[in-house]
Amino acid sequence: MTPPTVSLVDVSRTYPGGVTALAGVSLEIARGELIAIAGPSGSGKSTLLNVIGTLDRPTSGTVRIDGYDVPALSDRGLSALRATTIGFVFQHFHLADRVTALDNVAGGLLYSGLGRAERRRRAAAALERVGLGHRLDHEPHELSGGERQRVAIARAVAGDPPLLLADEPTGALDSVSGAGVMELLHDLNASGTTIVIITHDREIAASLPRRVGMRDGRIVSDSAADPSHPSHPSDLTRSNQPTRPTDPSEPTDPSDPTGSTDSGDSGGRPAAGAVPGSEAA
């Protein structure tokens, strides 16, 4: 059996000044999963993504990414791990202006040790894969928002990382473009990439096979933790229908999807920090 791509055990992250962003989070993500991490602003989901992405180190706890013991690695080692293992997609794309889509994507491979010709070849292939084979020479300002995010996704997957982390990938897009981007992420997952998506869009969270809810630095729900709770989006959608706003929910919305899902759980609220069984996914 292949080891899980992500394995967090009792991970805490406190910032100087006493702010606790993560308070004993345990989470295991198996190879090939497509998982949503949802929660209001300040729930710690971004910190969790940074820890999974090795951009941030936990204050305590065990973090294993692709089998590597993250706290034990040096900064150089983590950089190398990110270069080979993890792809990032950001809400605001982070594309370089006045640089063609091809070179933006090829730039993502700069730290992989590949030669320029090979980088460009792979970049072209990645752009082809996200459906932008006809936009190689376009600069970001010549692309629509959805296309820009596709370029960013192409950059993240050009090096074929086993793990793709997306932070609000549709947050800056209209719903049609957002749907297209989600479809692309589903396709990438279908071809084997493990994908973690941070979102506070309920509809998007609901459309993913596994959903983890966060609040106050703890995991308050995990659709994979409770076998009695079917991993089906209709659940979330149904339970939220009466109060769901058309826009992404307010951070402090008491009818937060994760919260209401929890209350509907027959198994009760899972204890924060409980180790979820990844086998169930």
Binding site: E28, D56, R76, A80, A83, G115, V275
Partner: protein, 406 residues
């Protein structure tokens, strides 16, 4: 849980190729071309100033060398000084002949001041307006001895030496308003009309002749009451034995009072003047250095601002797998590239300025390679210094902080 797995060795980051480092550095400059141009311009001005100063002074030095090699550095002059009592000393009339008897002396010539004789453009000029022109009796071989050239007309020859004919130095001719020599151009020398048969070019090795009116030795004795004592002796001797000649020259020219004559080597004086100019060059070079420093501060400023503005880019690169070292290298490369561009532009500008100035002055164009190389080396040092702090700051930025930046 699969925590029992054995530890995997730490992954090693891939090395960036030098060409990629260069490309990334250049990309940073390309996105803000105007700012890059302006801060490179600061360095360029500093480098241009230093290269230009060195170039112009080198070109003028080359011009002096050319002049000296044309005029020769083997000229020694003996001029009569003053006696211990402060009176004007006199060399014996046969001093010239005695000097010619010294072995290594190749030739000797002399001029003698005609005391009391003044030069006027015409009899109408009031007596007190002398114009500061001295009248010298000259030998026929003077021209060759001092390396003088005639600008207009001819030099005194066997016939004109005995007739009221005069050759004017360049300054004297200007003061008298004589543009060119001719049979109908006359000036009044010591109350007598003399025909101006020639006008000299400036004489670098015997500047005293520039403000002189030169007449033949015999005519000076006959018409102007010249006493026949030489005032200045011009001696050409073998270059290799010049010092030996120099030592005996005073005693030979004036055996009775060798301390009353002064021996000098005019080419030394020219070189000394050049050395004085070099001190001034040093000062200008200092000014250029200050300009260069200011340019360096401009580069540092640009880099600091660039790091502040590009935090998101730094965060992205870190997320893509760049190590701290690679971020540091990127910004250092950018800073080096920026100042190298400025340096190259400055060297070109400085060389162009030198060329223009030297050509306009009629000098040979010399831009020393050491100045060019030194200028470029200085820019690289400046780029490294200016970029170091911003680069280190960029590398220290934590990836999450950098990514959180707008």
């Amino acid at each position: 849980m699969a925590a029992s797995r054995t530890e995997r060795p730490e992954p090693a980051p891939a090395r960036m190729r030098p060409r990629d480092v260069l490309r990334v550095g250049a990309a940073g400059l390309r996105t803000r071309p105007l700012r890059a141009f302006l801060s490179a311009l600061g360095v360029a001005i500093g480098i241009a100033a230093t290269v230009g100063v060195v170039g112009v002074s080198s070109s003028s030095g080359a011009e002096l060398d050319r002049t000296l090699s044309a005029l020769g550095t083997n000229l020694l002059t003996v001029s009569s000084g003053r006696t211990l009592l402060g009176e004007e000393a006199e060399m014996p009339p046969d001093a010239e002949a005695m000097i010619e008897r010294i072995g290594p002396v190749e030739s000797a010539s002399a001029v003698g001041r005609v005391d009391g004789a003044q030069v006027y453009r015409s009899e109408e000029i009031p007596e007190e307006q002398t114009g500061g022109i001295s009248v010298y009796a000259a030998r026929a071989d003077l021209l060759a001895a001092v390396g003088a050239t005639v600008r207009s007309g001819v030099w005194l020859d066997g016939a004109t030496l005995r007739h009221p004919a005069v050759v004017l130095g360049a300054t004297a001719a200007r003061r008298l308003g004589v543009g060119a020599a001719g049979p109908d151009v006359q000036v009044v020398v010591g109350g007598e009309r003399f025909t101006v048969v020639g006008v000299l070019d400036p004489v670098p090795l015997a500047a005293e002749l520039d403000a002189a009116a030169l007449v033949g030795w015999p005519v000076a004795e006959e018409v102007l009451d010249f006493d026949g004592h030489p005032t200045i002796l011009y001696t050409r001797c073998e270059e290799a034995r010049l010092e030996a000649v120099r030592e005996v020259l005073a005693a030979t020219a004036s055996p009775e009072a060798p301390n009353e004559v002064e021996v000098s080597r005019p080419s030394d004086a020219l070189a000394a003047k050049q050395a004085a100019g070099r001190a001034f060059t040093g000062l200008l070079l200092g000014v250029g250095g200050v300009a260069l420093l200011v340019g360096g501060v401009g580069v540092a400023n640009t880099m600091v601002v660039s790091v502040l503005e590009r935090r998101a880019e730094i965060g992205l690169r870190r997320s893509l797998g760049a190590t701290r070292g690679q971020i540091r290298t990127q910004f250092l490369a950018e800073s080096l590239l920026l100042s190298a561009l400025g340096g190259a532009g400055g060297v070109l500008l400085g060389a162009a300025a030198t060329t223009g100035y030297a050509l306009q002055a009629g000098w040979p164009v010399v831009v020393p390679a050491w100045a060019t190389a030194g200028g470029l080396a200085a820019t690289l040092a400046i780029g490294a210094l200016a970029g170091l702090y911003p680069a280190v700051r960029a590398a220290r930025l934590s990836p999450t902080e950098a990514l959180a930046a707008p």
